[in-house]
């Protein structure tokens, strides 16, 4: 009932959007996302996907068009990366505030300057506070599955927030892996149809969307997003459970994934494709009789902080890997967020892989050793040249 294709991460995202039978795509190319929007253009051009493909002149317009389209009741998809995401910055907040369930694939790539097309996670993490749900995928199968799940999460009545599915540039976007593609009828049965009640621009029932919210109303709208984020935690778990039941694949509980955490005192916290390498290191060490663990954060917004605390309760040495840096604080963004809720735990922050610098098996080994002896609260830029 399924088909296995050996495809890249960008193709996996495009296939997922096609399986979800999106109505409107508005997108602009940027490396390393480009092949995703090219693939979608091909689908539309060949009549494999019945959608309006709006060939916008910029990412700002891509996101603006997506907002218009989603508000008009269409299932809407876009994809971007780095500078493109940064150009969307203004309207990302609008999308969340207007509660339009757009799904976007973001190929994680470093931000200028210097110009750099390679992977780190600074781009999406810089949009942390925009009100978008953020999911980070470890491999191409997870990209496909997460995009499918994203529609169901975004369109849930208790959520109605846009979702960004992130995949590491080149590491996933350009690497081919076998990916299992479910049948479209099963996907559509799983997602259901988008029937907007809240934000539908219908001439038969006129509403005003995006009104001016003075100090009497603004705070409540932000609070409503916060509550929707809270609801999303449960919805993400439920959607993930249902997906697992139906398609026989899963990623932890949908929010986090614990790998060998039970017995491990030394644990790495990480997001995205690097989790694959970390798992390999853990398996190798297990063979030598050493128990070390991984806490993979799949969902960074909403951040399931209680679950993270619980998962780390036995950990003594916690290394947080960051492919981002909050300049002026000398800390990675994931570290700041995770550690703000951990008490009486030793945590060390490793800034790794900025601008696509390799993170090897040996680097991970080194981190596991280093964190045991490093002092609490330290920041280490791994492999920094003199």
């Amino acid at each position: 009932m399924c088909e296995i294709k050996v495809i890249t991460g960008t193709s996996a995202a495009a296939e997922a959007a096609k399986l979800a039978d999106v109505d409107v795509i508005a997108a602009y190319p940027i490396t390393p996302q480009t092949t995703c929007v090219e693939k979608l253009a091909e689908f539309v051009s060949n009549g494999e996907l019945d959608a309006e493909y709006i060939k916008v002149e910029s990412e700002h317009s891509a996101m603006s068009a997506c907002i218009g389209s989603s508000a008009a009741g269409a299932r809407t998809f876009t994809a971007t990366s780095s500078q493109g995401l940064a150009l969307m910055h203004e309207v990302l907040f609008s999308a969340a505030g207007m509660r339009v369930p757009i799904v976007m694939m973001n190929a994680n790539r470093a931000l200028s300057s210097p110009i750099n097309i390679w992977n780190d996670q600074q781009d999406s993490l810089a949009e942390r506070d925009s009100g978008w749900i953020q999911i980070y995928a470890e491999d191409n199968q997870e990209v496909l599955d997460s995009v499918i799940q994203a529609f169901k999460i975004a369109e849930n009545e208790n959520v109605l927030l846009p979702v960004m599915v992130n995949l590491d540039g080149f590491i996933l976007t350009h690497t081919v892996e076998p990916v299992t593609l479910p049948k479209q009828e099963n996907v559509l049965e799983f997602i259901g149809t988008y029937e907007p009640k809240h934000a539908y621009l219908d001439p038969k029932k006129p509403i005003t969307q995006g009104a001016l919210g003075d100090p009497n109303y603004y705070m409540e709208t932000k609070y409503a997003i916060e509550m929707a984020m809270k609801n999303a935690e449960k919805v993400i778990v439920d959607v993930h459970d249902e997906f697992k039941e139906k398609f026989k694949r899963g990623y932890g509980n949908g929010l986090i994934e614990c790998y060998n955490l039970e017995k491990a005192e030394t644990v790495i916290v990480a997001m995205g494709s690097i989790c694959g390498t970390i798992k390999d290191v853990i398996d190798a060490k297990k063979k030598e009789g050493k128990e070390i663990g991984l806490l993979k954060i799949r969902c960074f917004r909403p951040l399931p902080i209680e679950m993270i605390k619980d998962a780390l309760k036995n950990a003594k040495n916690i290394a947080v890997l960051d492919k981002s840096i909050s300049l002026g604080m000398n800390k990675g963004i994931v570290y700041v967020d995770v550690v703000s809720s951990l008490k009486n735990k030793k945590t060390v922050n490793y800034i790794v892989g900025l601008g696509g610098r390799d993170i090897t098996f040996e680097d991970i080994l080194e981190i596991y050793t280093d964190v045991e002896t490093s002092e609490d609260g330290k920041t280490i830029w791994l492999g920094l040249k003199e």
């Binding site: 891509a62 603006s64 989603s70 309207v91 621009l201 001439p203 509403i207 009104a211 001016l212």
Partner: protein
């Protein structure tokens, strides 16, 4: 245009928060009357948006959306795409034509929103873009825009002892739009409501993008008593400063020819933004108008 029936329905409700005598409100009211109920409006940030939708109030009786200052055309592109897809795939939005109209001020259109507008026009979306032109950024307190006329004093092109107000001529939006090869372009004035409404109707009926630039006197930014809005608008046309024309499928057509063009003096003297002008300045402006009128055959 004689004998046109003005629809009685008010799709733009009275009771908005615009200044007394605001021309922008007239633009919206007339445009919706002409377009009718089956319309979705996208509005750029600016006076029109702010004065019509302070939550929980709204002056719009058609579905309306505002996202940002620079993206009304892009938002409208998305709406148009969605309506097309949903009509085709899920029989939504009925069989009647849905008019997608974007409203933008001169700033939201000729300056910051120019790229999005150019993109939307070039892509051929079936939409009507209405640029309501009050010749400055009024919502933020009358700063100059690319559409501010030569020698007008604004807060960022103030007339001082060294500089005589705005030092550049008004950006020629209709001709820039014409270069996009879109099927319909028109200029209009709130003082000629039948002409404007006919143009909106035509723009809605035409397949593909249409662009209408309507001059809209602004009591506050231009500095004149509220009751003069219509008269000032009319003088702009009667002097040849703001000719009314259409470009339909590349064909230029003048819609109104004043019996005798008035001199620009009175128009300028009625407004505070021009009060610094000397007779020599006024002659300069008159010369520029005469030259342009020659081009237009006025």
């Amino acid at each position: 245009m004689a004998g046109m029936q003005f629809p009685r329905d008010e799709l733009f409700a009275p009771g908005h928060r615009g200044c007394a005598g605001c021309g922008a409100a007239i633009v919206a009211r007339l445009a919706l009357k002409a377009a009718g109920k089956n319309t979705i409006a996208a509005n750029a940030t600016g006076c029109l948006e702010v004065m019509t939708t302070p939550y929980p109030e709204t002056a719009w009786r058609v579905p309306w959306i505002h996202v940002g200052f620079e993206n009304a055309a892009a938002v409208a592109s998305g709406i148009e795409g969605a309506v097309a897809a949903l009509k085709r795939k899920r029989q939504k939005y009925g069989s009647e034509k849905v008019n997608v109209i974007a409203f933008g001020g001169d700033g939201g259109t000729a300056d910051i929103g120019f790229q999005a507008l150019s993109g939307a026009m070039e892509r051929g979306h079936d939409m009507v873009y209405i640029m309501y032109d009050n010749e400055a950024y009024m919502n933020t307190g009358a700063q100059r825009s690319g559409s501010t006329p030569f020698m007008a004093s604004t807060t960022t092109s103030p007339a001082g002892s060294h500089i005589r107000g705005e030092n550049r001529p008004k950006k020629d939006m209709p001709m820039i739009m014409a270069a996009h090869g879109i099927p319909y372009i028109a200029t209009a004035s709130i003082s000629y409501p039948e002409d404007f409404m006919n143009k909106v109707k035509k723009a809605c009926e035409i397949d593909g993008p249409a662009f209408i630039q309507i001059m809209q006197p602004c009591t506050t930014g231009w500095g004149y008593p509220a009751e003069n809005t219509i008269e000032i608008g009319r003088l702009a046309v009667e002097t040849g400063l703001w000719p009314l024309f259409e470009i339909e499928n590349g064909e230029f057509k003048l819609n109104y020819r004043p019996l005798k063009r008035k001199s620009i003096d009175e128009y300028l003297k009625m407004q505070k933004r021009y009060r610094h002008l000397t007779p020599a300045d006024i002659s300069k402006i008159q010369e520029a108008i005469d030259l342009k009128c020659q081009e237009y055959g006025l």
